[in-house]
């Protein structure tokens, strides 16, 4: 391959000092921002994505509602300063629409839409920095934002990109590597191992596909562990805060006990 940069050097290290199967630093921040029901900021290395989830709420547009399930609406905005070349994309850029449609179809089988009839779930993805793996970062952040919004999901969705350099598989590519190497992005539901998204925009040898596909699915499970840990930490923290509030108000607790007795009648 004739490339200006060395993807994998003789020592088996990549351009940013990682090994082949090493993931980038993965950071999650689940604190609430503004009006959103659920919020997550996720960074994979230098790629940083902020996702806000609003809803389920009554749709503004009556003609858009479906009487027995919720509608998912995904909007993506890429900050002009997010990449190395400053560039402003319009909201109706074909690539942006395609990206939003990919995220939407990833989550349609995962969100329990039948629980929210005639309502509307908005997912707003803001890309703050991009350095490869944009789709996987967006999907991971969306999963976390949906969970913090309290929307019922069948499972987590965790996504990772994987590529192949001659015969060496690589995980979690940076922008530099994405330019030179064929790669795919997969999103898996870790409990069942079901795959909700596979995208491949570059030409990849058919013999290599299975190997890196399986690798990406396994890496998804590792990402899932990290995500779950963050969610549990956050939930535990909130529950603890809630418990303190409850102990202060004995009356409130008594009320809930009453309710339970009545339910048995």
């Amino acid at each position: 391959m004739t490339s200006r940069v060395e993807i994998l050097n003789d020592g088996g290290y990549r351009s940013d000092g990682r090994r082949q199967h090493e993931l980038r630093d993965f950071n999650i921040d689940l604190s609430v921002r503004g009006q959103a029901d659920g919020c997550a900021m996720v960074s994979h290395g230098l790629t940083q994505v902020l996702v806000s989830v609003l809803g389920p709420r009554e749709a503004k547009n009556r003609s858009q509602t479906i009487h027995n399930r919720a509608i998912i609406n995904v909007e993506l905005s890429i900050a002009p300063f997010s990449s190395s070349e400053r560039r402003k994309r319009s909201r109706n850029d074909r690539r942006i629409l395609e990206f939003a449609a990919a995220v939407k179809s990833t989550f349609e089988p995962v969100i329990q839409v039948h629980l929210y009839p005639r309502s509307h779930i908005d997912i707003f993805i803001q890309v703050l920095q991009q350095d490869g793996g944009l789709l996987s970062a967006s999907i991971n952040a969306t999963t976390l934002a949906l969970i913090t919004a309290g929307i019922s999901l069948f499972d987590y969705v965790s996504a990772v990109s994987a590529g192949v350099h001659s015969t060496h598989p690589l995980l979690d590519l940076t922008a530099l590597e994405e330019n030179d190497v064929p790669y795919l992005t997969t999103a898996v539901m870790p409990r069942t191992g079901k795959v909700t998204l596979v995208t491949l925009e570059t030409r990849l040898h058919a013999d290599r596909f299975e190997e890196i596909f399986r690798l990406a699915c396994d890496a998804g499970k590792v990402i899932h562990k990290e995500m779950r840990q963050a969610v549990m930490a956050r939930t535990g923290q909130l529950v603890r805060a809630l418990d303190i509030g409850l102990h202060d108000q004995g009356a409130l607790q008594r009320d809930t006990e009453d309710d339970q007795e009545m339910r048995i009648d």
């Binding site: 604190s31 009554e58 009839p117 703050l128 919004a149 929307i151 409990r191 939930t235 923290q237 529950v239």
Partner: protein, 306 residues
Amino acid sequence: MITITSFPTESKDSDTYERTRHHPDVLDDVLMDEFDEEDSLDTRLTSPGVPLTSSHAFMRGHGTYVDGDEVIASVAGTIERVNKLVTVRALRSRQVAARRWKVDANARQDAVLMLSSVNLPGGIQRRKLESDELQMRNFFEEGDLLVAEVQAFFADGAMSLHTRSLKYGKLRNGQLITVPPVLIRRLKSHFISLPCGVDLILGLNGYVWVSKHVTEREREGEEGFDAEAVYSSRNNDIDPATRTAIARVSNILRVLATYFVPITDTILADAYEWALEQDPECGVKDLLREENAEAMILAVTARAAE
């Protein structure tokens, strides 16, 4: 004072995800140790996709779903168990219009009918239970028509309705005609019974309900009053004569609406009388034809002028 930050500042209070990292092989062991050290809180927590229990021994509640023979959490939160019912209570969730119905009232916004402003079967003074909340669809369902009184307006202009009287409730045995709201004048009573055995409810929102006559006795709920019937969605048997009467009144209303004639009980009675006189050569459906409609409007306005 207004401060502007280009990005949300990261909160300091351990909200951000900070934890010692471990190698994946030992990670599970480390997590187990942590669970043991802390109180039972962490065992009460769950997140989507985590199997909770067997679906044979337990029933699934909110925040869970069944896949195969496992009950699996679908939200992140605390696990709660009441007898055999397992639920997961999410920390942040939105209830989509809980304890209320949304009613299309021909207004800018949908009106709201609270569960608390509805007459429940079994007496007005009954306490509202949580079970009533779950059974809301037994009272009113999507697509039901109902008559209610406007109780109050919210600050944003949405209406709050109530049906806490036997006059109000679910509509059946008839049909709905929509007319421009200006045509309905404010009357002493908007519940009219015409002499032809047809009841009318003239809504100020332009919705008119034409139905089979209900006797005074049945409506007041003394003897022979069926409490279940208030929320029943089944029509009673309607004999052909009443059906034609309802159809005729409906067509008269449609004609009056197209000619923009205000709808009052006297005008309706006059028009009905006129329609009966023309009956053999001008049947119910012929009322809608232009020449008949014009003749009716002329006759009615002439009589109103007298």
